[in-house]
């Protein structure tokens, strides 16, 4: 189990500090695929960086802590301060737009060989890598290429190959398949699900595609303006979302053959620099009351294992007249 205890991550900027992740407390069960979704800029990538322990200026872990639920070589529990030692082998990370985090002037094969702590027999490593990338549908020659010679999708697959090669206990993947066509995406996600079932590792997957989350995840975390607003089993979240934002998110994408207009949710989240009061979604929520504007809702368990931060979570929506599309 990975425990996040009131995690606050901030960025120092010329205009002062903002909390891009503002007090997230959740427990991630072992061996589960956790999906993370939410508005652009709500703090998903920041949360991933915190989980990876990649906390570099101007970002700081302003308060809170993470317990990873496994021990290091000396038998001490791994925490936010020591997780860096577990990188690559036990905790791996596919950053967002990772297609440009490959080193542009080094051949792909060399980037595999350069992994810290690798088998010194380069030829043997390359043999293993070659076989592995084949499993992910990449041609062996792709290893000889420089990153710019591969399409965006191929680079993205290469990043996934690097992140899963050592079968780490925790895989953090930020939008790992957005650059891929849906055919390849499906193959990769099916493969990830199979690998995960075999190895029982934990995967945290950030995606904007609610369809991807529905297919792949066991649990879902929905974030809004730096807060966790809903957290629960995926079945429960998709069948009966508790937070109005989650409901709107699930129903906002069009589908093929359906010609109804989709408007998205009008307005924008509050600026994190401003004064934040009450529920951060209140301005855009069709059900907000005066209470929502002054009293901040906390994340509480409404059904077994299903949490939401809304004063009216799961309540019947008023007068049935509002359309969610």
């Amino acid at each position: 189990m990975i425990r996040l205890n009131n995690v606050v991550a901030s960025y120092r900027t010329g205009r002062g500090s903002i909390n891009a992740v503002d007090g997230v407390t959740i427990e991630i069960p072992d061996g589960c695929i956790l999906g993370v979704a939410g508005e652009s800029g709500c703090g998903k990538s920041t949360l991933m960086k915190v989980l990876y322990g990649d906390i570099l200026s101007p970002m700081t872990l302003a308060s809170g802590s993470i317990e990873y639920g496994f021990v290091d070589r000396r038998g001490a529990p791994v925490t936010s301060h020591t997780v860096q030692q577990e990188w690559f082998r036990r905790v791996s990370y596919v950053p967002q737009s990772s297609m440009n985090s490959l080193n542009p002037v080094i051949r792909i094969s060399q980037q595999f060989i350069d992994f810290p702590g690798n088998d010194p027999d380069k030829r043997r490593v390359l043999e293993q890598v070659r076989a592995y990338i084949g499993k992910l549908g990449l041609p062996a020659e792709a290893l000889d290429a420089y990153p710019h010679q591969l399409s965006g999708g191929m680079r993205q697959r290469m990043m996934i190959a690097m992140a899963t090669f050592f079968q780490p206990e925790l895989i953090l993947a930020d939008e790992p398949t957005t650059a891929l066509d849906v055919v390849v995406q499906k193959e990769i996600l099916m493969l990830l699900m199979e690998l995960q079932e075999e190895m029982g590792n934990t995967i945290v997957l950030v995606s904007h595609d609610m369809g991807v989350h529905y297919q792949v995840t066991h649990r879902m975390l929905i974030m809004y303006a730096a807060k966790a607003v809903e957290y629960g089993d995926s079945d429960s979240v998709f069948e009966a979302p508790l937070h109005p934002y989650t409901r709107m998110l699930i129903s906002s994408l069009p589908t093929i053959g359906d010609d109804r207009a989709r408007d998205g949710i009008p307005g924008r989240p509050p600026s994190l620099w401003g004064e934040l009061r009450g529920c951060r979604f209140a301005d855009r929520c069709p059900f907000a009351t005066d209470r929502c504007r002054v009293e901040e809702p906390v994340l509480v368990e409404h059904r077994p294992g299903h949490f939401a931060a809304c004063h009216y979570a799961g309540a019947e929506m008023p007068s049935g007249g509002v359309q969610w599309q």
Binding site: S40, D144, D181, M190, Q215, I250, P254
Partner: protein, 276 residues
């Protein structure tokens, strides 16, 4: 009727590797598409990763020289034999939104510098007029001017930077916007606001779009035409609704059948590995 976009036998061959073991990649293989219309249109290009979509876009933008064939945009030859020069006029009529906004902007300049540069060099706007145009473009993608100025790329989230990149392309009011995966990092709700903005720009401001995307549902939602690409070839091309409701090519069917929906699962989902 105007030729909004036409490609004639467009080919692009890339060479990979050193002389000894050189290998070639046919990124575009005899691409022939043609859209003539009196009204502005949205043309979607969908298909396989690595099938040549970005290469097609870069050819139209003159960033890649075709190996053979040519391309016409709004009745002007823009690539290949007989391409007319005139960079500034060209840029004011075609604007790109690049696939990866982190590559499109340098890490060492604040992003507003790009917005003002486009306003100045392409749209010929300076001073207050430039500021107003930049502010309006940012507002249309849901960003506040004050939240953008003075910031470097690494100070934005992926979706924010992608929206800055969209805003930049809107400033010169081009007749064709070549948008390569413009909403890939943007959440479902904001994505619809931007997709609706493209639609409005087509209907009210007369702009055409080449909309390259892996998101087939939004392609269906806004496009007039769609080209389906696989291995450098356009395997199916036609009116978006026809192609997507009644696909003829096996690859198009495979593509449409692979969209992750929230209605039925690809496979029964086993419980998480460890009980909780």
């Amino acid at each position: 009727m105007a030729v909004i976009l036409r490609t004639e036998g467009l080919n692009k061959v890339y060479r990979l590797g050193s002389f000894g073991r050189a290998r070639t990649i046919q990124a575009l293989n005899d691409v022939d598409i043609s859209v003539e219309s009196d009204n502005p249109v949205i043309i979607a290009v969908v298909g396989e990763s690595g099938s040549g979509k970005t290469t097609l876009a870069k050819t139209l933008l003159r960033l890649v020289e075709p190996t053979s064939g040519r391309a016409i945009v709004y009745d002007k030859v823009v690539a290949g034999r007989g391409a007319q020069p005139g960079k500034r006029e060209f840029l004011s009529s075609i604007q790109p939104i690049f696939q990866n906004p982190f590559e499109a902007f340098s890490r060492y300049r604040t992003v507003d510098a790009y917005l003002f540069e486009t306003a100045d060099r392409v749209a010929g706007l300076r001073g207050q007029a430039a500021e107003a145009a930049v502010e309006q473009a940012l507002a249309s993608v849901g960003l506040e001017f004050a939240d953008v100025v003075g910031k470097y790329t690494n100070q934005f989230s992926g979706g924010e930077l992608q929206r800055v990149s969209i805003a930049r392309a809107l400033i010169p009011q081009p007749s064709l916007i070549v948008a390569d995966e413009p909403v890939s990092m943007i959440d479902a709700s904001r994505r619809m606001i931007i997709i609706n903005l493209f639609k409005r720009l087509r209907d009210e401001a007369g702009r055409s779009f080449l909309y390259i995307t892996h998101d087939l549902a939004t392609a269906y939602y806004i496009s007039d035409f769609v080209a389906v690409m696989n291995k450098g070839q356009v395997v199916e091309f036609g009116a978006a609704r026809d192609v997507m409701s009644n696909p003829q090519h096996a690859y198009t069917r495979l593509l449409l059948g692979s969209i992750p929906t929230t209605r039925s699962r690809w496979r029964p989902r086993k419980a998480a590995a460890a009980p909780h």
